[in-house]
């Protein structure tokens, strides 16, 4: 086999294998759920404990639901993951962030909101789930 062909072959392998593994990694059932409760169920969230140790910074009113900046910080020790859900979106689960090796349980991102709704944050700590919500009034649908 020519060295070039061999290298091309290797590249194809590298390109193909991870994608399949990645498709399996993405939580399709949770992200395609149209009800908040179903999304939570597919994230294996059982009992949710309300917590004031979760900070959510988002505007009280958003002119355009296509871009709503959200800042989330968990002050709960040993936070492993932060999920962001929008109760009244067509598919409520927006994102799930998992932290390790010194990453702080903190994210800022921009999300779409279809209408006025609570932004709900669920924090995973071991087998426990803590939750906090912030309402955002949306003036223009951002889900298209």
């Amino acid at each position: 086999m020519q060295r070039r062909d061999f290298l091309l072959g290797m590249l194809t392998m590298i390109a193909l294998v991870p994608i399949k593994a990645l498709a399996a990694l993405w939580n399709k059932a949770a992200f395609e759920s149209v009800q908040l409760n179903d999304a939570s169920k597919h994230l294996n969230i059982d009992t949710e404990i309300p917590s004031e140790d979760i900070e959510i910074i988002a505007p009280d009113r958003a002119e355009n639901g296509a871009i709503v900046q959200v800042e989330v910080k968990s002050n709960i020790p040993d936070t492993e993951a932060i999920a962001i859900l929008v109760e009244k979106n067509p598919t409520p689960l927006i994102a799930n962030f998992m932290f390790s090796h010194g990453a702080e349980p903190y994210v800022v991102t921009r999300i779409k909101m279809a209408e006025t709704s609570d932004i709900k944050v669920v924090v995973k700590v071991g087998h426990q789930y803590f939750t906090h919500a912030k309402n955002v009034v949306v003036l223009e649908n951002g889900c298209g």
Binding site: T91, A95, N96, S100
Partner: protein
């Protein structure tokens, strides 16, 4: 399987006291699959599903995203224990098999 160019992400990583703040701006349409074009045809869903960040090769952040992240995704995250000169790499993969990877070196704020 498109591998996008090195200019797909704008990144910044700055040491701010006892943590490094990383800011990432990605270039991606983030189509929900519910929007229609000018001819009333549905535009197929096209969105980033997985994002991972490493610090000197070690995974620090893994995210799964749905269609609810805004177009041209923006992300800030913070790393404790990182220092000036450390290398942070961010990779994303979307639902159509495209991906992009980019790295940045931590600087003083």
């Amino acid at each position: 399987m498109a591998k996008l160019g090195a200019d797909n992400m704008k990144m910044r990583a700055q040491l701010k006291g006892d943590f490094v703040e990383v800011k990432v701006l990605m270039s991606h349409p983030m189509e929900t699959g519910r929007r229609k074009d000018d001819f009333n045809q549905l535009i197929p869903a096209h969105f980033v599903q997985l994002l991972a960040a490493t610090l000197n090769g070690k995974t620090v952040l893994e995210a799964q995203w749905g269609t609810g992240i805004s177009k041209n995704p923006y992300l800030t995250f913070r790393l404790k224990g990182a220092k000036v000169g450390d290398v942070i790499e961010v990779t994303w993969h979307d639902n159509l098999g495209a991906s992009a990877v980019q790295e940045i070196v931590v600087t003083e704020a």
